[in-house]
Amino acid sequence: MVNLTADRDALSALAEVEGRSLWQDALARLLRNRAAVASMIVLGVIAVMAVFAPWLSPHPYDEIYWDRIQMPPDLANAHWFGTDGNGRDLFVRTLYGARVSLMVGILATGVSLLIGVSYGATAGFFGGRIDNFMMRFVDIMYSLPFMFFVILLMVMFGRNIWLIFIALGAVEWLTMARIVRGQTLSIKRKEFIEAAHAGGVGNFKIIYRHIVPNVLGPVIVYMTLTIPQVILTESFLSFLGLGVQEPLTSWGVLISEGARVMESAPWMLIFPAVSLAATLFCFNFIGDGLRDALDPKDR
């Protein structure tokens, strides 16, 4: 019916323009968004500094200088952010805090994203009894008190930073699953899904090819809210003594220590708080840019 070879010859030059994926397109659009690019740069700098923290300062994060307790920023001794109440360098401790906070934020959110999206999309797409069963399980998980869950894990496995990831991930995916399920329910009734069925596309291909990209908008918005929320929850756990253990630290720990002495040593509050605020700000801008980039029509 169509002469393939002739067409291929005629169109060979054009066929070399390989189809770019949705993600490449989205990335190109994201890179045109100045606020998002600036945020990515700031976040990148913070992340790189956190990774290379030991080489950026002459001081180890846990060394106590008995003669320099709670000192304001002091360039002569390379205490750029001053020292804390135990005479440890605040700059290097803020960077170590960034390590923990970023890692918790990204890993726990990543876990919740992966489980939540696939779980929610599957439940919503198949509907009926499968949906009922899967979502009742989510309801049961929801009804477990979070603190009780964390304390239980700590008692059983001892205090361990990985447990924080597991505990946070295990809780955060529930909301994600509910959001994705709700979106899936409305999208699976759309005509293009029916058209995909009529085109003989298999169920799982419909889920990941047609449904998941259509729910990513709300998912990414929720994700940008989850990262800061997870970072804050981690600081809350650390504050209660259930999170990271001294001498290791996180931004939440540093802020709570700084808040106690904010009148006599404001730098102990200001530097970690500004770092945390800047990070959360960046995540929000990136999320906003991503939403615009992923939704080619709503601009």
């Binding site: 019916m1 066929a15 009926g128 005509e191 058209a195 992923l294």
Partner: protein
């Protein structure tokens, strides 16, 4: 010649909280290779559900019974996995609203090549070549530059052309078009119909045109099937139906359609009353309450579809055309 699609005694029922609704009752229909059939009827007559049942796309509460054979192979109530080898490949469907039938997040190119990679195991490059050739064939100007666009960058008419191109990708034996022009404005409608008429000559597919617009049928179809309340009430060649309609319902449909070929402007007639409630169909003819010619027998006995001439059948107790 063996029929492409052979529907025998198809029943479709929907379980609703108010009771069972019988959307299709005892429909038998044969579609030969390359034949073009128009299925007409007003909203709720079951014309769309009939072909959704054939495709295995009924809503969850729908049940289909009877026999549907596609090229001799039973396809009714087969699992989705088995149907997926046929759907989009041997039978394809064009939907009513091109605005919502394309995935807004995927480029036209991706949505087209997906079908070919899935069904014909083509490489991405081959699939692109073939898809682009088809876009060209359905009259999309500069297909190469439009190929990698998103659906929202297309106009309504272009999207419907792209939908048609997608439906033709695998060279189907049967093409089901569910009101393909309803959502388009009149000038675009005419273009799309012209395109479909052109394509009919090139492709060897049997075409089913589901529509409430008899004008669409006139230019495109060989045979017309008129449906009312889930049953076929009249079938025949397109000329016959237009010039010598036998069933009062068909006559009513024709009178309610504006015509340009008539000298003096007549007032358009409407069919009085409402289509019956499919939940509790009374015995007898479903059309009798709206029919000007109904008599006692119509209330007691449902008229069966019977042949009245070669290739003509009607379900009406009246002996001659009223």
């Amino acid at each position: 010649m063996a029929p492409v699609l052979d529907i025998e005694g198809l029943q479709v029922r929907f379980a609703t909280p108010e009771g069972e609704v019988s959307a299709i009752s005892d429909v038998s229909l044969r579609i030969g290779a390359g034949e073009s059939i128009g299925v007409v009827g007003e909203s709720g007559s079951g014309k769309t559900q009939l072909f959704l049942a054939v495709m295995g796309l009924l809503a969850r509460n729908g049940r289909a019974e009877g026999r549907v054979r596609f090229r001799g192979q039973d396809i009714l109530n087969r699992p989705a996995r088995a149907l997926n080898a046929i759907r989009g490949n041997r039978i394809s469907m064009i939907f009513q609203d091109p605005m919502t039938s394309l995935n807004p997040y995927l480029k036209i190119s991706r949505q087209m090549t997906e079908v070919l990679v899935e069904h014909k195991a083509m490489t991405e490059a081959d699939a692109r070549t073939r898809s682009m050739a088809l876009l060209d064939k359905v009259g999309i100007p500069e297909p190469a530059s439009r190929f990698d666009m998103y659906p929202h960058e297309f106009s309504g008419g272009m999207r419907q052309r792209a939908m048609i191109a997608m439906a033709l990708l695998c060279g189907p034996d049967l093409l089901i078009a569910d009101e393909p022009t309803t959502a388009l404005d009149v000038t675009i409608q005419a273009q799309i119909l012209e395109l479909m008429a052109d394509l009919r000559r090139d492709i060897n597919a049997a075409v089913v045109m589901i529509t409430h617009d008899l004008g669409v049928v006139a230019g495109l179809c060989d045979r017309v099937v008129v449906m009312y309340a889930g049953r076929i009430v009249e079938t025949g060649g397109v000329e016959d139906i237009f010039h010598r309609p036998q069933h009062p319902y068909t006559q009513g449909l024709l009178r309610s359609m504006p015509r340009l070929d008539e000298a003096k402007a007549e007032t358009l007639a409407s069919i009085p009353g409402q289509p019956p409630n499919l939940q509790s169909l009374p015995p007898g003819c479903a059309f009798r309450e709206r029919c000007a010619h109904a008599f006692e027998r119509c209330a007691d006995e449902r008229p069966a579809l019977h042949d009245i001439a070669a290739g003509r059948a009607k379900a009406c107790h009246l002996e001659a055309a009223p």
